[in-house]
Symmetry: C4
Subunit: 208 residues, 4 copies
């Protein structure tokens, strides 16, 4: 239960920061720095309890790599999506239920952008937080958080830069993207998480 609460809290703060810094008036050009930092600090705070996934695609990748119990996958996903929904509701209340115009998305570039960004994120997570060769390094949280920062700067204009199905639920609920595109984020992000697990196993053959 405590693991699920930590996943809920971490995903809440991630999606809450996305909403407060992206829904106008937000943090403008510095939103990706704030969002990546939110993920970073929640990983440092909760990693020792739940692993600090805060992202269904990361949970999938970590499970495929063999570092997440099968019985935890669905409860983690539920906790993450619940955290995102509560955060999105909170943002809308705090902002006074603003009128938000969803960004226009072109399907193919947005799909590619989500695959590329989520692959980077899950590839970094598996290598810095689950590989034997990097255990003991203090900077797993910095590396994971700033992967989101850099990919959001690179790809935010193409897909909105979710790289995370729970974030996708949150930004849909806040009308930053149209809810009819929600499937795109789930498919692209989960596929990229799976691909990252495959690549991790190939480049770390002796790390079972």
């Amino acid at each position: 239960m405590k693991k699920y609460l930590v996943e809920f809290i971490g995903t809440f703060f991630l999606v809450f920061t996305v909403g407060m810094t992206v829904v106008s008036p937000g943090a403008g050009a510095l939103a990706p720095l704030a969002i990546g930092s939110a993920l970073m600090v929640m990983i440092y705070a909760g990693g020792h309890v739940s692993g600090g996934h805060y992202n269904p695609a990361v949970t999938l990748a970590v499970w495929l790599r063999g570092r997440c119990a099968t019985g935890d996958v669905i409860p983690y996903w539920i906790s993450q999506i619940l955290g995102a929904v509560v955060a999105a509701t909170g943002v809308l209340c705090l902002k006074g239920h603003p009128v938000v115009t969803p960004m226009e998305i072109k399907l193919v570039p947005a799909f590619v952008a989500e695959v590329v960004g989520t692959f980077a994120l899950a590839y970094v997570v598996l290598n810095v937080a689950t590989a034997k060769a990097t255990s003991g390094n203090s900077n797993y949280g910095l590396a994971i958080g700033f992967t989101v920062t850099t990919m959001a700067y690179a790809l935010g204009g193409v897909s909105g830069g979710a790289f995370n199905p729970a974030v996708a639920v949150g930004i849909t609920k806040m009308h930053l993207v149209d809810s009819m595109h929600l499937w795109l984020y789930f498919m692209a992000d989960l596929a990229a998480g799976g691909l990252a697990a495959l690549v991790f196993k190939f480049v770390n053959p002796d790390d079972k």
Copy 2:
């Protein structure tokens, strides 16, 4: 005595950076980065002497968690608030006693914002600086400082983003917020510190 001096110095530099970067002409959109960094560097400098709280709500949370002697709580609070008052006075002198218009605050959103931001801060502090599972990690200062950075980007426009009763005293003295709202910061921030201690104990049941 040396612990109290370290708390005074750290809180001084935190509130001094708040004032110098927020009172016009300040650092604009980069003020939250400077403020979080000020907290980060003072934690690295003073953590080994005093614990590096620089925040009455953090002192409350650390005391509830059992990592701050009861006899230190009041002296820490006095040192922190003294540091804030001296810093605010220094900022007003260096800026030439500017006319500052307090930001308008709506009570309920500001209260919620202070609870959310201070909860994040105290939750991160307890987990990265007092949990057995994270001892040895070098990044406690980075995590704590950047929690303030990210929450200031997210919530600065709602409540001013104090998350710290000593900072609240400082920004009140510099007229960035109206002194009639000071109670709001004390109540919200201390309540959130207490809540974070409860959550910490729930998710770290074996860490006495």
Copy 3:
């Protein structure tokens, strides 16, 4: 083979971030932060497999210092340049094949800028990632990534701020610089990598 794949992936994400944040509409003044962060996270993700060079000039410097097998140099260079070419192609597709006007470059200042920036980068790499005295420090990735960030802020306006022949291939392919200047980046960057190896050996005489 797995080392070459890791070099390909890391250089891909570095050049991809360069292209997505510099080709308009990009990340404006925050592009150097995103680019240095991309390098940082890929070093943390891949360092334990390939060393995390992602830069032919760094591979040269590490080889001269005696920490890269001679048989790996050419395959590393090929992997890095392939990663850059694929990234540049991907950027042009995602951006819809934009018309890009190459920046104007003055040869002598640009050559000096590339030597200075690449020297800083290779000097930092050798000291933080290959010196015995700094082994165990978690911050090699932060130091290397932010060397690119700071040198890009300092010198981006003079030479484009490649500091990396693979990046030079990428920005040439994206028309950010004119392809007739490609030799300048190769010569300056490889010379600076060699110079850094010499200086490293002089200041670390007992570190064979």
Copy 4:
């Protein structure tokens, strides 16, 4: 000799970054981030050889604290100031010998700003890089570099934000401040370095 070369290289890159990002066209609001990062990366690169001072006021503070040989103080100062002069010359050449209007400085606020900022810097250096209690922490470079970043955001508009006599020589040579004020930086910065050593000894009484 290798220690002096490392001090020369580190101070060169610090002052070079100051000049390239502050002399127009520079890095605008992000200059303090670039400058603090330059100091950070050079500390990680050279700390194991020379201690990574790059600042006569820091050398004074470290010497007073008993972690710098007396015979090294003057050679360190010379290396640092030489690095600053060469960097300033290089910046003026790369920028095409621009016409720079020195900032207007009010003596008393500028003196106070330099004392406050340099005290913060030397206090952080002594505690994170020379205290027994923090040895083994990887983040000394991050803490020191970002002290300059945060103090430059807070105080750059008051004094120019040197916090370092070698930087003062560099910005004087680049005409960013008037050379008739050079004494102010030397006096304020060295006094603050000495004060930080006193405070360090008071708060770390058992750390000889």
